[in-house]
């Protein structure tokens, strides 16, 4: 494979809250390759958004990146001066956000806000303006010449998100971080936005990091996926492979919880039992063990490492789903409460 454009090593971001330190991102490492489209999935609070924000050092107060490296073109973004990281933001690495309603400034014209992304990086007013119209046309906003004068509240939700994407792509960045860009939109508009992102990824070669809680979005857009749980990566690999043969019980449960039209009648929709863990005081051992149907003794005390489980696929699990299928009857399991497959239900359960 080519050399990665972004290398993240042991990233840790914490929030000092009154009732303890929340370890929102706890030792995340991954590579991003030029032009690829990587999905980061996980529940709310799994640390996926904070991971993306940490890359550009946009973590809100009282969050703080405590350690790690983010290497972009052999430079550590975490060691740069404020001035240097500002030059990277929006020019080399751009970011778009979940709620296009609140992510655009209500008192500035839409066109101006797109212009600004370029003018902040040295483009002249006239050049920026011409390119804004070109960009808005490219993201399929009709009548872009007149829409630039509109304020955000005059645009529909879908159009606002298109404007956000135009803003993100303004300087033809090498990487686009997309933090749940379709979550706030209705389904048809979601599909259009995903299609648009896929086209732009193909045409412009922009690497996309797609943060979502929706496995369907990953299936539609990404080539590789990373699953996060409680601030850590629990599994990663090519999308088709992961969908076909997930090795971490959490990934397996996530995929089980997607409603499918073609599901057999007896295959009931399964939600994951229990609650996401408290990140101020995460469970010992594997963080998923309090909710895991296939946990064994090791899981309670020893933290599993992210290891190769198949070509290009890594998972952090003492059991892995291959074994759970073989030995614990995972495929025929009806009830998936904690310990259901393995029968390990110790008294001192958290």
């Amino acid at each position: 494979m080519a050399t990665p454009i972004l290398q993240v090593r042991d990233l840790r971001t914490q929030f000092a809250m009154p009732d303890g330190i929340i370890k929102a991102v706890d030792g995340v490492s991954f590579d991003l390759y030029p032009g690829e489209s990587l999905g980061i999935v996980g529940e709310s609070g799994s640390g996926k958004s904070v991971t993306a924000l940490s890359l550009l050092r946009l973590v809100p107060h009282p969050g703080r990146i405590v350690s790690g490296e983010v290497l972009f073109r052999n430079q550590d973004l975490l060691q740069m001066t404020d001035q240097e990281i500002r030059e990277i933001r929006g020019r080399d690495i751009a970011m778009i956000f979940q709620d296009p309603q609140s992510s655009l400034n209500p008192v500035l014209r839409t066109g101006f806000q797109v212009d600004e992304a370029m003018r902040a990086h040295g483009k002249s007013k006239a050049d920026a303006h011409a390119r804004t119209i070109e960009l808005l046309t490219k993201v399929r906003i009709p009548a872009a010449e007149s829409r630039v004068k509109d304020y955000p509240h005059q645009l529909s939700g879908g159009m606002r998100q298109r404007a956000m994407i135009a803003m993100g792509l303004a300087n033809a960045p090498a990487i686009l971080l997309a933090d749940e860009p379709t979550t706030a939109l209705d389904v048809t508009v979601q599909a259009q936005i995903l299609e648009l992102l896929a086209d732009l990824n193909r045409e412009l070669g922009t690497a996309i990091v797609m943060i979502t809680h929706n496995m369907g979005v990953v299936a539609g857009l990404c080539s590789r996926v990373m699953v996060m749980y409680a601030g850590q990566i629990v599994e990663e690999g090519p999308v088709e492979q992961i969908f076909e043969s997930p090795q971490h019980p959490y990934t397996w449960s996530l995929l089980k919880s997607i409603p499918r039209v073609d599901a057999l009648r007896h295959e009931r929709l399964r939600s994951i039992q229990g609650m996401a863990p408290d990140l101020a005081d995460p469970p010992a051992g594997c963080r998923f063990h309090p909710r895991c149907p296939f946990r064994i003794e090791e899981c309670f005390t020893k933290e599993p490492k992210l290891l190769d489980v198949a070509p290009n696929q890594r998972a952090a699990c003492w059991v892995t789903m291959d074994r759970a299928r073989r030995e614990m009857g995972a495929d025929t399991l009806i009830d998936i409460h904690p310990g259901a497959g393995s029968g390990v239900r110790p008294g001192e359960e958290i």
């Binding site: 500002r86 751009a94 655009l104 008192v107």
Partner: protein
């Protein structure tokens, strides 16, 4: 937008009518006979009665009230007993001094208050935040008459760099201390208000978007955050200006500033009811006018009001 403005103007008329009613009632309830005052202490009961009649004070109350409204509508605010001259010209003659002081006071509020508010909001919890917040607390708590006297003592008597009050025919050194006294309390209020509003705005998503674009912190503050805080600030600013224009009684008195506030105080001591009523009405007009101006300013600040 036109409908919006017409609606605001309609309200202005209603409020002014209310003020006229209240002023009239108060003037009617005030003890003391204006006719006696007007006639002088040596006048005979007969001449007082004549003046009583001349002033229309022997007519039924409702007739007096309708007559009063009618005259006010024609900008006839009555005749000052004391100066034996029409009230409105007397007010208008004093008004420029008050206007000068009011504008200067608002200027001090903004020039001192906004930078402090921005400084405190960008570094919440820091030592700068604490120092500035203590400062604003002091300026807010200090009564203006006391602050004015302290300033006069320190910068007028002890270190005589400013004159000890008076108008000085509009020379700027006469304006400085009254304007500072007037504006300082407001400045503290503005600093706190702006800090609170900015602390609310800075965590917003659109500020994060601006940062993600790579714009400078200055641009984030002045182009993205402050305009969103402007609605709140302008509301306060408009009310302050209207309030100051209506007469800054205490400060004009402390600094012997010849404005309408000081004139109104004198009028009260002299039982010069028409002049008091005229000043109150004039002030109400300015305050209500400033509020309507603020409402109209909204449409320029926030595009969501405009459409």
């Amino acid at each position: 937008m036109t409908r919006y403005i017409i609606r605001r103007l309609g309200w202005m008329v209603v409020v002014l009518f209310g003020v006229a009613v209240v002023t009239f009632i108060i003037a009617f309830l005030v003890p003391g006979d204006p006719a006696r005052l007007y006639a002088g202490s040596n006048a005979s009961p007969a001449s007082v009665a004549i003046i009583h009649h001349q002033l229309g004070l022997d007519r039924p109350v409702y007739v007096q009230f309708v007559d009063y409204l009618w005259r006010v509508l024609h900008l006839d605010f009555g005749y000052s007993y004391r100066y034996s001259a029409p009230v409105l010209p007397a007010i208008l003659q004093r008004f420029p001094a008050t206007a000068e002081l009011a504008v200067a006071g608002v200027f001090v509020e903004v020039i001192v208050g906004l930078p402090i508010g921005i400084l405190a909001a960008t570094r919440p919890g820091s030592i700068w935040d604490r120092i500035t917040m203590v400062f604003t607390f002091v300026t807010l708590a200090a009564p203006p008459f006391w602050l004015g006297l302290i300033f006069l003592y320190v910068f007028g008597a002890l270190i005589p760099i400013f004159p000890l009050g008076g108008y000085g025919n509009g020379a700027p050194q006469y304006l400085f201390l009254p304007a500072l006294t007037l504006g300082l309390g407001g400045a503290g209020y503005y600093a706190r208000l702006l800090r609170a509003v900015l602390l609310d705005i800075l965590p917003k998503d659109y500020i994060r978007t601006a940062n993600a674009k790579g714009v400078t912190p200055g641009t984030v503050m002045f182009r993205h955050a402050l305009p969103n805080a402007l609605t709140v600030l302008v509301t306060q600013l408009g009310m302050d200006l209207g309030y100051f224009l209506a007469g800054v009684v205490v400060i004009e008195t402390v600094f012997a500033w010849p404005g309408i506030g000081k004139q109104a105080v004198d009028a009260i001591f002299n039982l010069d009811i028409p002049l008091v009523m005229g000043t109150v009405l004039f002030g109400a007009l300015l305050i209500v006018g400033a509020n309507v101006a603020v409402d109209i300013a909204y449409t320029f600040i926030d595009p969501r009001v405009r459409y």
